[in-house]
C-alpha cells in the first residue's frame, strides 16, 4: 500500500539520492534517531515503545499456557501478530490484517524464531500437553516509514524486558532470551541504496531488502519487497549496510 506522490516530490527525492543526500539531511547509511522505552505497559509481561524518528511502534508480550504443536511436543510456542492501527496512518483501515500487516508480522516472526533468540525448549511444562506460549503483539502507533526495523527493535526490547508470569508452574529464574537479532531494511530509490527510509522515501522506492543479523554477522532472515529488482552487487552492499547499522541498533536494545 503506497500513498500517491507528486512527480515533483518524487524527482526531488530521486535527485537528492543521486547526490547521496536525503530529505531530512541524513546520509544514505544514517539511521534516524532511536529511542527505546521498556516496561511501558504494566499488564504485559514485557513491553517496549520504540521511536524511530517519527515512527512509533509499541510491542506487548503476553505469556500464557498453551498446547504444544504435535511435531514439537517439548517446545514452547511463539506467536507474532501485527496491527496496523487506523490511528497510525490515514491509509490504515480497521478490519482483519491485510497483506502488509501479515508480511510485517511474519518477517518479525522469522527474525526472532530463526535467530533462536528465545530458547523455546526451556518453555516446556509437560511434554505434549502444556507449554508456555509467547504472544508478541506489535502495535503500530505512528507510521512514518520503516515499520519492519522498528517492529523488530520493539519486539526484541520487549522480550528482554520480560518479567516471569506469576504462575506457580513457572519455574525458570528468568525468561530464556539470549540474543538480540536486528533487522535492517535497505531501500532502493532509483538505483541508490539507503537505510531506514522515511515514509516519503518508501513511497518512491523501487524495492527494499530486509536483512536480519545476529551479533556475529550471521544472517537469520531476509525479505525482499516492492515491485522492483535488485542486482547481486546491491544485495551484497545491503548486507554490509545491515551489518554496520545493525551494530548501532543493537547497542540501543
Amino acid at each position: 500500500m503506497k500513498e500517491m506522490v507528486s512527480s515533483v516530490k518524487r524527482d526531488y527525492i530521486v535527485n537528492l539520492a543521486s547526490q547521496g543526500k536525503r530529505l531530512d539531511g541524513r546520509t544514505l547509511d544514517q539511521l534516524r534517531e532511536i529511542e527505546v522505552r521498556r516496561g511501558v505497559i504494566g499488564t504485559a509481561q514485557g513491553s517496549a515503545l520504540v521511536k524511530l524518528g517519527n515512527t512509533q511502534v509499541m510491542v506487548g508480550v503476553k505469556i500464557e499456557h498453551g498446547e504444544p504443536f504435535p511435531d514439537t511436543p517439548t517446545s514452547g510456542i511463539l506467536v507474532v501478530n501485527a496491527e496496523l492501527l487506523p490511528l497510525a496512518s490515514p491509509l490504515f483501515e480497521p478490519g482483519p490484517p491485510n497483506e502488509d500487516a501479515i508480511e510485517l508480522a511474519r518477517v518479525v516472526d522469522r527474525t526472532i524464531r530463526e535467530s533462536q533468540a528465545i530458547d523455546l525448549e526451556k518453555l516446556c511444562i509437560k511434554e505434549g500437553e502444556d507449554v508456555w506460549a509467547v504472544f508478541i503483539d506489535i502495535y503500530v502507533l505512528d507510521h512514518d516509514g520503516n515499520l519492519i526495523d522498528s517492529s523488530v527493535m520493539a519486539s526484541v526490547a520487549a522480550l528482554h524486558d520480560i518479567k516471569p508470569p506469576k504462575d506457580p508452574e513457572w519455574t525458570l529464574p528468568t525468561f530464556p532470551i539470549r540474543r538480540k537479532p536486528v533487522a535492517v531494511t535497505v531501500a532502493k530509490v532509483n538505483g541508490v541504496l539507503m537505510v531506514d527510509a522515511g515514509l516519503e522515501e518508501e513511497n518512491v522506492m523501487d524495492a527494499r531488502l530486509t536483512i536480519s543479523t545476529l551479533e556475529d554477522g550471521t544472517i537469520c532472515a531476509m525479505q525482499k519487497g516492492g515491485s522492483g529488482f535488485l542486482e547481486r552487487r546491491e544485495i551484497e552492499e545491503a548486507y554490509e549496510l545491515a551489518r554496520k547499522c545493525g551494530e548501532e541498533i543493537r547497542k540501543k536494545l
Binding site: P97, E99, I102, E103, A105, R106, R110, R113, E114, S115, A207, L209, L214, G217, T218, I219, C220, A221, M222, Q223, K224, G225, G226, S227, G228, F229, L230, E231, R232, I235, E236, Y239
Partner: protein, 242 residues
C-alpha cells in the same frame, strides 16, 4: 517422520543428488483450454498448475488504477497437496506468498500498457515438496508468456539452502524441514536481476555468497527449461530443426 541421522552422506543427498543438482524439472506451456495463458511445472515431487487471465477489465471497478494495470496473484495450496490435509482457503502464509510472488513478477511486465485493466495469476499447488513458491513463479512466468502478455524477460525461481552444514541447490522437503537454512530466490535471467529474495535459518556471510552463486547456476537451468517449454508450444518442429 523421524529425522534421518544425516541428510548428506558421502556428498550425496537423500535422493542421490549432489549439492549443486536440481531435481528433475518438466515444464509445459498452454495446458488449460479456458485460461488466456497457462503452464504446468513438475520439479521433483512438486506439481504446480498456473493460469493467467487478462489483461481484462478490472472488477471490482474501485480497484482500477487509472495509469497502470493491476497484477493480482493468488498462491493456493490444494488441501491434498501435503501430508496432512490443509484447510482450504487463504492462510497467513499463502497471503504473504501471494504478495511476494506478485512483487517477483511485476518487474517483467509493462503494466502501464494496460491502464484500468487487471491481470490475474492463479497458482495452484497440487502437490508440495518444498520450493513451491519458486516453482509457482517459474510456472507463472511461462503462463504469462503463453498469454501473450509483453514481458521484459521471464522470471525463474529456485530455492537454495543449507543442510548438515552444506550449501544446497533446490531443497527437497526433508532438507527444508530439518536443514539449517532456506532461501527462495527469483531472478530475471537475462540480466540476473533478483525479483524475489527471502531467507530463514542461518547463513554466515560466506555461506550466503555461496548460496547466491549456486542459485544463479540453478536459475540458468530453470530458464533453459522455460524457454524449451515455450518453444515446444510455439515453434513448429520443422522450424526447430533449422
Amino acid at each position: 517422520m523421524e529425522r534421518p541421522e544425516r541428510l548428506i552422506v558421502d556428498g550425496r543427498r537423500l535422493d542421490g543428488r549432489r549439492p549443486d543438482e536440481l531435481r528433475p524439472l518438466q515444464i509445459k506451456a498452454g495446458v488449460l483450454k479456458r485460461a488466456d495463458g497457462s503452464a504446468y511445472v513438475e520439479l521433483g515431487k512438486n506439481k504446480v498448475l498456473v493460469a493467467v487471465y487478462g489483461p481484462k477489465e478490472m472488477h471490482p471497478r474501485h480497484l482500477q488504477q487509472s495509469d497502470v494495470a493491476v497484477l493480482r496473484c493468488r498462491y493456493n495450496m490444494a488441501p491434498f497437496s501435503v501430508e496432512e490435509r490443509k484447510r482450504p482457503g487463504p492462510d497467513r502464509r499463502s497471503i504473504e506468498i501471494s504478495k511476494v510472488v506478485r512483487e517477483a513478477l511485476e518487474p517483467v511486465l509493462f503494466l502501464h500498457l494496460y491502464p484500468r485493466a487487471a491481470i490475474d495469476v492463479f497458482i495452484e499447488i497440487l502437490q508440495a515438496d518444498a520450493g513451491t513458491r519458486t516453482t509457482g513463479i517459474t510456472a507463472a512466468a511461462v503462463a504469462l508468456a503463453d498469454a501473450g502478455i509483453p514481458m521484459r524477460d521471464l522470471v525463474a525461481g529456485i530455492s537454495v539452502g543449507k543442510a548438515d552444514g552444506t550449501v544446497l541447490l533446490d531443497l527437497m522437503k526433508e532438507e527444508d524441514q530439518w536443514g539449517e537454512a532456506d532461501m527462495p530466490i527469483a531472478v530475471m535471467p537475462r540480466r540476473k536481476l533478483v525479483t524475489l529474495l527471502q531467507m530463514d535459518g542461518n547463513f554466515t556471510p560466506d555461506e550466503f555468497r555461496q548460496a547466491l552463486d549456486l542459485a544463479f547456476k540453478g536459475i540458468e537451468r530453470v530458464y533453459e527449461a522455460q524457454k524449451r517449454a515455450l518453444r515446444e508450444k510455439y515453434v513448429p518442429a520443422s522450424e526447430e530443426e533449422r
